[in-house]
């Protein structure tokens, strides 16, 4: 469920914002992409690619106190074929790069990538011969969450931004030439 607007108890609680549409007795008509966006954004199945300390913060985010499952990420998938969101959390070494790329290529469209923590975003404090200086050198990233490590609230903020991207994405985006050009920049079809 989305975070609630602050209303008094008498007025009731807004669980999620309603898209524009035509309402009647027992039906609600709106455009297809709004319905699909709403359905997709509230059931994102993440693949936690947790490598180091940010993975521990992710464990805290999934636990009961901060609970990522409230936002629909109840089922974590460790198989890329069944995941929507690749969460890269932690330092990625240069030796790990091809493996991360292989995991990303195995995901089915539509897929999103969130890069959690300073090491995944830019190499962090490890500017050395062995650390990849940011995963956006090898895969396209949608949302960056800075921090070392970011608190669970910040990771949730990143997930909410991913939810906004998911909700507002056009259904034809993955076939568009701009998207294909972007994938070509990374050497993928």
């Amino acid at each position: 469920m989305k975070a609630m607007e602050s209303t008094s108890i008498q007025q009731g609680v807004t669980v999620g914002a309603k898209p524009e549409g035509y309402e009647g007795a027992g039906f609600f008509a709106t455009s297809l992409d709004k319905v699909v966006g709403l359905a997709r954004k509230n059931s994102i199945w993440p693949l936690p690619f947790a490598t180091s300390c940010c993975g521990i913060e992710f464990m805290a985010t999934m636990a009961s106190h901060y609970d990522l499952a409230r936002f629909g990420s109840e089922r974590l998938s460790f198989s890329p074929r069944q995941a929507d969101l690749l969460m890269v959390m932690g330092t990625i070494a240069k030796k790990m790069g091809p493996i991360l790329r292989q995991v990303y290529e195995q995901m089915a469209e539509p897929r999103w990538v969130i890069s959690v923590g300073a090491c995944a975003c830019s190499g962090g404090i490890f500017d050395t011969y062995s650390v990849l200086q940011g995963i956006d050198r090898i895969i396209p990233v949608d949302v960056y969450v800075p921090g070392c490590p970011p608190r669970p609230e910040q990771i949730i903020d990143g997930i909410l931004k991913i939810q906004h991207l998911v909700e507002t994405e056009s259904l034809r985006r993955r076939d568009s030439p701009e998207y294909k050009a972007m994938l070509n920049k990374y050497g993928m079809e």
């Binding site: 240069k94 030796k95 830019s122 190499g123 500017d127 050395t128 011969y129 062995s130 650390v131 200086q133």
Partner: protein, 166 residues
């Protein structure tokens, strides 16, 4: 107690290999012997078997780069499990071509330790069953822990040098 067994070790080493010893020192009460590189495998085997020394556990082996001497040292640290005694053996190899025989016939644990020394310093161990890089990417062309190579990735354009103290 510990002083006397260190002396036993030194005298056991000197009775056969006096000519190979370059320097004996005990920094922080840790017996350190610098040796010539030619007979190191024999010496380690001798220290393994000799009843006074019996160094039958290889704690670690690593490389050290001395750029001002243009040498790469290989340091072996051996441990005597019965008498609780340690010894450090150092040999010095020329930095242009650091080659030394492997000690895997004596200690199988030296297999990965020598691969790590090759990976980071470029020391070639003759007779090693599988000498290839262990921690770094296979197609890396440099030996990172030598002091002539900079620590940072040189291909970054986005770092502001003034803020990083350079």
């Amino acid at each position: 107690m510990e002083g006397s067994t260190q002396d036993n070790v030194i005298s056991a080493l000197k009775e056969k290999y006096e000519d190979q010893i370059l320097h004996i020192d005990t920094p922080y009460n840790f017996l350190t012997v610098s040796l010539k590189k030619e007979k190191i495998v024999e010496i380690i085997q001798y220290l393994y078997n000799h009843p006074d020394t019996k160094f039958q556990y290889l704690t670690t082996l690593c490389g050290i780069h001395y750029p001002e001497l243009n040498q790469i040292a290989v340091m072996y640290q051996l441990h005597n499990l019965v008498a609780n005694l340690r010894i450090r053996l150092k040999i010095y190899l020329p930095a242009e071509n650091p080659v030394t025989p492997t000690i895997t016939p004596i200690f199988s644990g030296a297999n990965w330790l020598e691969r790590e020394t090759y990976d980071f310093f470029g020391v070639n161990f003759e007779g090693h069953p599988n000498l290839k890089r262990i921690l770094n990417v296979e197609d890396m062309i440099i030996f990172p822990l030598r002091k002539e190579y900079p620590l940072e990735d040189q291909r970054r354009e986005d770092k502001n040098d003034t803020m990083f103290g350079r």
